[in-house]
């Protein structure tokens, strides 16, 4: 392993060798090496096989974009070998290989290319049977085409998210970005500079004659207290109002910047000729990165294709590194390398005018064809032009245009607070780039109201030479790759236009050009040129496809961060656990499902139901939504919100609340207790209270009634004591409330004290039994609960859970909003006409309910019961269909076994004409069996309400 001597190799620590394995073979590199650089130093240039034709591929850009450098790590697929640093013992394998990298069994695919034109998939894999694609072709192709392998046993990692704020975010830490950031920070702005590479400097870290400028910028940057530099940080998108995701390792920084300067640089472009994808053919910047970052000699005998001054600089660099220069080839007609060319000539380098039409070699470059002659070489370096890094600017609304004179894409930005500077702005020389950055920084400073000066626009003496427009013609034998990720050749694009595709977005989807990991970074310009020529349009008209976030691949972990499912606990949470409750989440709330050992769940739930029916039970109803509606207009407000009338409701009385939306659909229910002329305590269903509260505020923002609404759901806890012996329990409480039959009638409400706790007591319930519901401020809940349990000792009061509560409510035929109702349910469909005021001039939904009533009743919720054994499958479960003439007309909304009645009971929507009691309806069980049952009322148990009103 030989490396170039320092100062080549700025990123490697030659004192720290690092060993790792690639394809099972041990390699040694240095700390700071990336996988590709340490392999190249060991003369291992092939990294992968290509996507479609399984051609040998190696590094081309050293900038982490093309699919060719993606490798597999044990727990991470698709890792960029030219950006991922090696570590001791790292196991790296090649991707997209059948067999081994050196001897890929699918390499014959290369010879079949002419049988696989673009659109091949769409045409070929349609038959022979209807589902052939899904069953046969797709799995086969996926296996052949697959990139890395996901390790589902990967170890857990934490992913973090944080918010960041700054006056100015500078994206890109090259000459432009650093200069702009320093200028702004020196004037007092709070600046963040984000650089995706491990060091700052951008092209200055590898470009010839750049170290003085870089040293100067580094020194100035260190002296700026308000400049935060974040390296290894990817800015992966631009979103409205300058909101940008910065990703560093496992952490996502959601960054809000007042101003943004995009100094994202430019992407060097490859040339187009036959076999331009052979290992050993690379961009000028890639050769420079190998030498200056890693001290790796990119080859022994080189040809340089130079269509701009940078090409000549690379040639000089190669000479300095001891690479033999076979020739410099300048494709520009009358092209001149100026002083740089003279310097090369003085060193005896041959400079040819002409073009490269092909390359030869099996697994590595062996020669290139220039002006019809083969020149032996193992390295071809291409410097033929670049495109501005357009992705982030275009996401932010920049327009890409084509400058015919300079053969390049230009970006024009919309208005501030966004700026571009440096080579992304079409500039090339150090002077021009830094001057442009100072201009951008001072424009930002002016808008930030910080000290600034006016900087004139810059002229770049080099920009005119930076790009070269080649004539791209398809090689008769092909393999002139435009998009290496997708194995797209010149003729593929030309053929797509012959198929009639003109629009780039469609050509992209038909050919898949630009759809690989590099997302058009190295293909967009050539594609535009080919398509423009083939469709007789200008390149500006052809354009590029829409750039969308993310800029580079990101992991799902980064997007997800920590997972925090909402969790709310009632005041009695620990008390329930102490009593052995099986706690389960219901929305955000944790509630007792039943009390006791899981193994006995069914028996315990039955016993809890039985306790309520025969003795007394207590349920924690604290999760019930609680609202206080108060003010002189409180009654009028409730009149408009709910379907019943509340203005004349006496203080100390409860009234049912049914809420409909403007379509007349039932959306919530509850109970309102009037505590004073101007104060109602209203319950809402657990899941809906947040929405009900917001809706109430919304309506009153429009009505402007003199009323205040407060959500007291968490502030109040509640316990429902229910069962034939419930009165014995409450009468045993130490209380100033008269709980007697005479003193506290059904649907009445009282305020008082229980065990020193302020309590709101209501005779309401959900079980159909004699019920008292006691509400209190949550800080007193434990005291109240303990008092209730103490008072209940004499009758063996039993706490019961949610499942028993569901059974009890269904036995009594009480509906659950959201379970027994859907987005269309009207009060009439529930048989709740009694709850809809006919005299009120207005309530939300009134008009719609009337209109729907005039249209007849399409369906109605009814009760159904089935005398099958408890575990029978021949019973319709929730969501089973109700059929009429074999056509679905409704469905089962609730279905449970009633331990009280010893049969299956259900609520279901049936056709409106079938809703009379006794009408036979047909249901389809989950097992497909059809079943007939007569329509019943909702209440299966105590339909005459003899038990709850005693």
């Amino acid at each position: 392993m030989t490396r170039l001597p320092a100062p080549w190799g700025s990123r490697i620590n030659r004192d720290k060798p690092v060993s790792f394995r690639f394809e099972g073979t041990k390699f040694t590199g240095f700390e700071g090496d990336v996988i590709a650089s340490s392999l190249a130093a060991n003369d291992q240039w092939m990294l992968s096989r290509s996507f479609k034709y399984h051609r040998p591929r190696g590094l081309m850009s050293m900038a982490g974009s093309e699919a060719d450098t993606l490798v597999q790590l044990p727990s991470d697929p698709n890792v960029q070998a030219d950006r991922h640093q090696i570590s001791e013992g790292l196991q790296v394998t090649a991707q997209n290989v059948n067999g081994s990298l050196a001897n890929d069994r699918d390499a014959f695919m290369d010879k079949l290319g002419r049988f696989m034109p673009v659109g091949f998939y769409y045409r070929t894999f349609m038959g022979p049977t209807r589902n052939a694609w899904l069953k046969f072709w797709e799995p086969l192709i996926r296996k052949k085409a697959g990139l890395g392998v996901l390790n589902t046993d990967a170890t857990h990692q934490d992913y973090e998210k944080a918010n960041l704020f700054c006056d100015l975010l500078v994206v890109g830490g090259g000459a432009a970005g650093l200069t702009a950031a320093i200028e702004a920070a020196e004037a007092g702005a709070d600046v963040i500079l984000a650089e995706m590479e491990p060091d700052i400097g951008g092209a200055l870290t590898y470009r010839r004659d750049s170290s003085d400028l870089l040293d100067d910028l580094r020194t100035r940057a260190t002296a700026c207290p308000t400049l935060r530099i974040m390296t290894d940080t990817l800015v992966n998108g631009w979103y409205e109002d300058n909101w940008l995701p910065l990703i560093r390792g496992n952490k996502l920084f959601k960054t809000r910047a007042v101003e943004v300067i995009l100094a994202t640089g430019a992407i060097e472009q490859p040339a187009t000729f036959r076999n331009n994808d052979l290992p050993g053919i690379m961009l000028g910047s890639a050769a420079q990165r190998l030498m200056r970052h890693y001290g790796v000699k990119p080859g022994n005998r080189a040809v340089v294709l130079a269509a701009n001054p940078d090409g000549y600089r690379v040639a000089l660099d190669l000479l300095d590194a001891g690479v033999e220069l076979a020739a410099v080839v300048d494709p520009r007609a009358g092209g001149s390398g100026g002083d740089l060319a003279d310097a090369l000539r003085r060193k005896g380098v041959k400079i040819l005018t002409g073009d490269i039409t092909g390359a030869q070699g099996k697994k590595h470059l062996q020669s290139v064809t220039v002006n019809g002659q083969n020149i032996p070489c193992d390295l071809l370096v291409m410097s033929v032009g670049s495109v501005p890094m357009w992705q982030l600017p275009c996401q932010a609304g920049a327009k890409l245009s084509y400058d015919q004179d300079h053969a390049r894409f230009n970006l024009t930005l919309p208005d501030a607070p966004l700026n571009i500077a440096g080579s992304v702005n079409g500039l090339s020389s150090h002077d021009a780039v830094t001057t442009d950055a100072i201009r951008a920084a001072h424009q930002v400073l002016a808008r930030l109201d910080l000290p600034h000066r006016d900087i004139a626009g810059v002229e770049d003496t080099e920009a005119a030479f930076a790009n070269f427009e080649p004539t791209i013609t398809a090689h008769p034998k092909g393999k002139d790759f435009i998009d290496r990720d997708e194995d797209i050749q010149v003729k593929d694009l030309q053929n797509a236009t012959k198929e009639g595709y003109r629009e780039l977005e469609l050509i992209k989807r038909f050919t898949t050009v630009g759809m690989g990991p590099s997302q058009g970074r190295h293909s967009a310009l050539a594609t535009a040129r080919i398509v423009a020529k083939a469709t007789d349009r200008s390149i500006a008209e052809t354009g590029v496809t829409t750039a969308r976030p993310p800029f580079a691949p990101e992991t799902l972990g980064v997007l997800s961060g920590h997972h925090h499912p909402a969790e709310r606990r009632t005041a009695l949470h620990q008390e329930h656990l102490r009593l052995g409750a099986d706690m389960r989440p219901v929305g955000a709330w944790w509630r007792p499902y039943f009390y006791g050992n899981k193994i006995n769940a069914r028996r315990l739930i039955d016993e809890e139901v039985q306790a309520v029916r025969e003795n007394a039970g207590v349920l924690d109803v604290s999760t019930l939504g609680g609202l206080e509606v108060r003010g002189p207009d409180a009654g009028e407000f409730l009149n408009r919100i709910y379907t019943m009338a509340y203005k004349k409701q006496p203080v100390g009385r409860c009234r049912y609340c049914l809420m409909t939306n403007e379509m007349g659909t039932v959306i919530d229910d509850g109970v309102a207790l009037r505590l004073a002329d101007d104060l109602y305590y209203v319950t809402a269903t657990t899941g809906a209270v947040a929405r009900v509260y917001a809706d109430m505020l919304f309506w009153n923002a429009q009505w402007q009634l003199d009323v205040d609404v407060l959500n007291v759901t968490s502030a109040f806890s509640g316990f429902n004591i229910t069962g034939p012996n419930a009165r014995q329990v409450v009468e045993a409480l130490n209380s100033n409330i008269d709980f007697s039959r005479e003193g506290f009638a059904y649907l009445e409400g009282r305020e008082g004290q229980v065990a020193g706790v302020p309590v709101r007591a209501m005779r309401i319930g959900f079980t159909g039994e004699l019920s008292y519901e006691l509400h209190c401020p949550s800080s007193h809940a434990l005291t109240l609960w303990q008092a209730i349990m103490e008072a209940g000792k004499s009758v063996n009061l039993r706490p019961y859970g949610l499942e028993a509560s569901r059974i009890l409510r269904l036995e009594k035929g009480h509906i659950l909003i959201g379970q027994d109702t859907d987005a269309l349910t009207s009060p009439d469909e529930l048989g709740f006409g009694w709850a809809v005021s006919k005299t009120k001039p207005f309530f939300i939904g009134k008009r719609a309910i009337e209109m729907r009533r005039n249209k007849g009743l399409p369906r109605k919720l009814v009760g159904l019961s089935f005398d099958a054994p408890r575990d029978s499958q021949d019973v319709p479960q929730e969501s089973c269909l109700v059929l009429r003439d074999n056509v679905p007309v409704g469905h089962v909304t609730s279905s449970l076994w009633s331990p009280t009645l010893n049969k299956h009971i259900a609520l279901a929507y049936v056709h409106g004409d079938d809703s009379d009691i006794g009408t036979q309806v047909t249901l389809k069980c989950r097992n497909g069996k059809l079943l007939n049952a007569p329509v019943e009322g909702h209440a299966f148990f105590d339909p005459d309400n003899k038990r709850q009103e005693v």
Partner: protein
Amino acid sequence: MKTFPLSPGGAADNVTLIDDVITLTDLTPLPRFGLKGRGSAAWLQAQGRPLPQINQIASGVLRLGREDLVVVEAADDLRAAWHAAPAPKGYNAWREETWAWMHLSGQHLGDVLAKICPVDLSPAAFKDNQIAQTRVGYLEAIIWRHTFEGREGFSVFFDIAATAFFANAVTTAAREFSEG
């Protein structure tokens, strides 16, 4: 006897509040009295209490809206006076029952808050005694730059039923700073 979530037997009494790179202190049992609805501001002012601008605090009075105020100094006296007073006097906002009250302080205060609150809470952007009604720890919350017992930091008011959730969210957010 009152039981708060972190009291013995309370809903979150098995939760340990973090006290290393960041310190979470439960202030839920401290007195506070909220008034809301028409008449609240006038009544409070008539009691000689200051009436700050919305989203500001003055002498222990937090103003969250035109008629939405929370008093955290001498709150119990005020509550007694309010119960005895005739209307109009606004309505009880039950802030001692609806909200948990926690204080955050410590070495990594800024780092942790940047992870759990979307508002810029840096000293330059968010001054002492400033209030923001926003999200903290994935919950709707009120955050107030507040020095408690000499510890610079923030007080946060949020749904009392989410006490355990909030404490766990803060602990998780702080974890990356305590490791390594």
